[in-house]
């Protein structure tokens, strides 16, 4: 199965690729600030991102223009997905779905 270049870009984030994926998923239903993201990610994925990891991933996503900051509200700055970020997330989720389908099929065979 060939890999699209957008997958490679997400994989380029190294140990931040998984937190970055969670952040993209968290922002898929609208802008959120850091604290709201950690709460949402904990609820959805059961992973509690530490602040160092969270902002390491946010900086990388910003540098790639997959998310963008909005004007700060009080001391908190919300972020939103860009069109490029939405495409990357969509493609990544499609890849994961294909992998999950294969995994389930193999489990059923075994």
């Amino acid at each position: 199965m060939g890999r699209d270049h957008r997958d490679d870009l997400l994989a380029d984030l190294g140990r931040f690729s998984e937190p970055a994926l969670y952040i993209l998923i968290s922002l898929a239903d609208g802008p959120k600030h850091g604290y709201a993201m950690t709460q949402d990610i904990e609820m959805v994925a059961g992973q509690k991102l530490g602040p160092g990891t969270l902002y390491g991933a946010i900086a990388r996503l910003e540098a790639r223009q997959w998310i963008e900051p909005l004007p700060a509200e009080d001391r908190r700055r919300p972020y939103q997905l860009t069109a490029a970020g939405r495409r990357v997330l969509h493609h990544r989720l499609e890849s994961l779905r294909a992998v999950a389908r294969i995994g389930r099929a193999r489990l059923a065979e075994g």
């Binding site: 604290y35 602040p51 160092g52 990388r60 540098a63 700060a72 001391r75």
Partner: protein, 169 residues
């Protein structure tokens, strides 16, 4: 001063200017768990070393509020995957080999000439020391010279101290 504010000082100034306020708002003022402290410290190391993070914070400093187009264009221009060239890698490899060889030979010579402690230190320093000295040509390339001095010099000092203690035991 809260622990989170003290830990925030570990981050580069540009990073603090960009993310400091929201970082503190996210962490809050509750006592930090040990895992959170480790995460924040490793995040600080990452902020000093990662070209991506430095790019994001540097661009933010240069772009005034409202300069969204400027911010985007600068980020697009600054996106690079390669931070060092093949030539840099070869130089780094050469430094590693050379320093390893010199440390090993001088260490053996020192030991044979009645300086066993110096010999042990040099031998134990050969590989990790050469790795550290090659880093300015590779992983640390483009980082501020102060950060390079602290990382390379600090690590080498620590390695010498450990080698000295190990030689005495």
């Amino acid at each position: 001063m809260a622990a989170s504010e003290r830990l925030l000082r570990l981050y580069p100034r540009a990073w603090r200017e960009r993310y400091g306020e929201e970082f503190l708002a996210t962490v809050g003022h509750d006592a930090l768990h040990p895992q959170q402290v480790i995460d924040i410290v490793s995040g600080a190391i990452d902020a000093w070393l990662s070209a991506d993070v430095r790019q994001a914070t540097r661009t933010w400093r240069l772009a005034p509020s409202g300069g969204k187009a400027m911010l985007k264009s600068m980020m697009a221009c600054g996106q690079t995957k390669m931070r060092f060239t093949t030539r840099d890698s070869l130089i780094g490899a050469g430094v590693m080999l050379g320093v390893t060889l010199v440390c090993s030979v001088v260490g053996i010579a020192a030991r044979r000439n009645g300086w066993p402690v110096t010999g042990e230190i040099l031998k134990s320093l050969a590989f990790p020391g050469s790795l550290m000295l090659s880093m300015p040509f590779t992983f640390l390339k483009g980082q501020p010279w102060k950060a390079q001095v602290v990382i390379v010099g600090g690590t080498l000092s620590l390695l010498v101290a450990i080698g000295y203690i190990a030689a005495l035991i």
